[in-house]
Symmetry: C2
Subunit: 162 residues, 2 copies
């Protein structure tokens, strides 16, 4: 059973890392100018989706009880606000660095977790709620964040020529 | 530990069902004509992505050792071939029925599985390989199929007006 638990954590972690790598590889093929383009007519720009994914992953640091998030200033621009509403935006060059830093910091912490740690509640769940809904654990969050990443990756690839 | 295993299976299954529902809800808002549109200029048409997702999910029936797939004829059109290459295509009305049938059939089988069944190898892995790579189990496949579904859902929503 313990082995199965480890296998499960490995499955979920592998899919997380593989999607982060797919975005990394895509970013390597896109110039900063290309990132200014909308992924489709009237849709979010590449730079907005990069900032959005970075902000959402950054928020996982406190959510998983790892550490304070690194780029709280991104929340207002890339989570609370839509692309067109966004005023001042960091440069594509800076966002690339933030994206790399956030995912590397998460990976560093993930490596310190024991399989059973993945089943502990995340910080936004109260002890009372966790007692009622024990599936609201770290692994569950990673599953949904990986789906969120895959969802936007499917859009970001449109920045490359058909 | 057993409880954690059940929690994990529940997390992965919940994310699968929620993404299937999101596609169902999107399809309800799209006319058959709308499905003929490309999701973005020069990209796959909605009808191709619907057929692609249906064919990939249909293949999960034998892969999970449930039953023979229902629509083998879709593989050549929606998996082997690209959209533009595809010749004869089923109607949008038929694909909607196939999509519904395949996901309902999978759900029927999922309900019969015990948590430990999710950790058994899928049919395309040999016993030898499974001994070496025990993470190649049903749950691992469901994790990656859910990511695949999220990836294309992020593209299908572009069929709706911005």
């Amino acid at each position: 059973m313990k082995q199965q638990q480890e296998l499960l954590v490995k499955s979920v972690l592998d899919s997380w890392y593989s999607h982060v790598s797919r975005v990394d590889n895509l970013l390597d093929t896109l110039t900063d100018e290309k990132l200014q383009n909308e992924v489709a007519p009237g849709r979010n720009r590449g730079i907005y989706l990069l900032g959005h994914l970075t902000a959402v992953h950054d928020r996982m640091l406190p959510l998983f009880n790892f550490e304070k998030h690194h780029y709280g200033q991104l929340d207002e621009i890339f989570i609370t606000s839509s692309d067109k509403a966004a005023k001042e935006m960091p440069s594509a060059a800076d966002l690339r660095l933030y994206w790399k830093d956030v995912n590397e910091t998460l990976a560093k912490h993930f490596k310190t977790l024991q399989p059973e740690d993945w089943f502990k509640k995340h910080s936004s769940v109260s002890d009372e709620d966790f007692a009622k809904e024990p599936h609201r654990n770290r692994l569950n969050v990673l599953v949904s964040r990986t789906n969120h990443l895959a969802y936007h990756l499917g859009q970001l690839i449109f920045l490359n020529k058909p």
